[in-house]
């Protein structure tokens, strides 16, 4: 599990990353190709693929091969853990 200090900048480093995360939080059962995700948020495939990498490294999203495609989906447990971590971090800032 990465340190929260490393996590925050990674998560907030781009608008697209935030858009992808919001899309998955609102639709946790979304499972689709990077190209389709780009279409869904109305962004270019290249930039989306790049930002997806960071989220995959963090483990919030995962990908797996499916036939000739690759599909990206939310790791619900990991996402829950990271949300807890962030919440604790934000609360500690308030102290």
């Amino acid at each position: 599990m990465p340190e929260v200090e490393d996590l925050m900048p990674k998560l907030l480093s781009s608008e697209i990353k935030a858009e992808i995360l919001i899309l998955y939080h609102m639709n946790p059962g979304l499972i689709d190709t990077p190209e389709a995700l780009a279409r869904r948020i109305g962004r270019g495939q290249v930039e989306v693929t790049k930002d997806l990498e960071d989220l995959l490294i963090l483990g919030i999203l995962r990908k797996k091969p499916l036939g000739s495609n690759e599909v990206v989906f939310l790791d619900r447990d990991r996402d829950r853990d990271i949300q807890k971590l962030l919440k604790a971090h934000i609360e500690s800032l308030g102290d």
Partner: protein, 260 residues
């Protein structure tokens, strides 16, 4: 022993089906836009979970799950809670990914491992069919339905059929009615210039069923079945009431069978 029927949980509909759908069967629910296909599909899944402890998958292509969560909440159905309890998954994907001839894993496999569903709704099979070349439609649909059967899922496959509005339009050359074990239709009925809604069972393999077109409404609590329709001209002319029945014409109009 497990009941051999998968009850919809809508009492009047289960009565029309003489107990429910046959377990493990593939059921087609055809209807034109806005007739309540999604609502009935959701209710089938929700009732499975809350009344019969049968977990479910709801697969959507057209609508994002967030919209389905919102609309469901208006009916008092708490889908998010069911997902947290691992009794439900609302899956959103691109149709072509379900057709991938991936010899290994199917897209649904991981969700099946997670919630061990007994029921599945696909919203909609007609949308899936749009991604298949005409000459492969039968084969691909057959493969898909067989996959659901090997997973012992009782499936409700939604089919948007503009033809049921009255206009004759064949959706497929071959038709896919032979692939499914049962067909339900939702169609508008115009009576004295008001539009009402009718549900009919066109076929139910291996079972008797109610043959009458029955009125229904969508209320804030979901699907509500009313009385079978009677033919109004019959009443006006004083001749004996004739019960409206589902006909082969309905099937033809829906594009589910082809004209010979």
């Amino acid at each position: 022993m497990m009941d051999d029927r998968a009850k919809t949980g809508i009492t009047e509909l289960d009565n029309m089906l003489r107990g429910g759908f046959m377990r493990g069967d593939a059921v087609l629910l055809a209807g034109s836009a806005g007739m309540g296909k999604t609502t009935l599909g959701l209710e089938y899944i929700i009732n499975g979970i809350t009344k019969y402890r049968e977990n479910g998958l709801y697969v959507t292509f057209e609508q994002l799950p967030s919209q389905i969560y919102r609309d469901s909440a208006n009916f008092g159905w708490q889908l998010k809670k069911m997902e947290e309890e691992d009794t439900l998954r609302v899956i959103c994907t691109s149709p072509n990914l379900l057709l991938e001839a991936s010899d290994g894993e199917h897209l649904f496999d991981s969700f099946i491992d997670e919630v061990h569903p007994k029921r599945i709704v696909v919203d909609s099979l007609s949308h899936l069919a749009m991604f298949v070349p005409q000459n492969e439609l039968r084969k691909e649909m057959y493969k898909f339905v067989m996959y659901l059967k090997t997973k012992h899922l009782s499936s409700l496959l939604l089919w948007e059929s503009p033809g049921l509005m009255g206009q004759v339009q064949s959706i497929t050359e071959e038709g896919i009615s032979f692939l499914v074990d049962a067909i339900l239709i939702l169609k508008p009925v115009e009576i004295e210039s008001s539009m009402r809604k009718a549900l009919g069972i066109l076929k139910l393999r291996g079972s008797d069923h109610d043959k009458r077109l029955t009125e229904y409404e969508i209320t804030s609590e979901g699907f509500k079945l009313r009385k079978p329709f009677v033919e109004y001209e019959g009443i006006m002319s004083g001749s004996p009431r004739k019960i409206l029945r589902v006909s082969e014409a309905d099937l033809l109009k829906s594009g589910l069978i082809k004209r010979r």
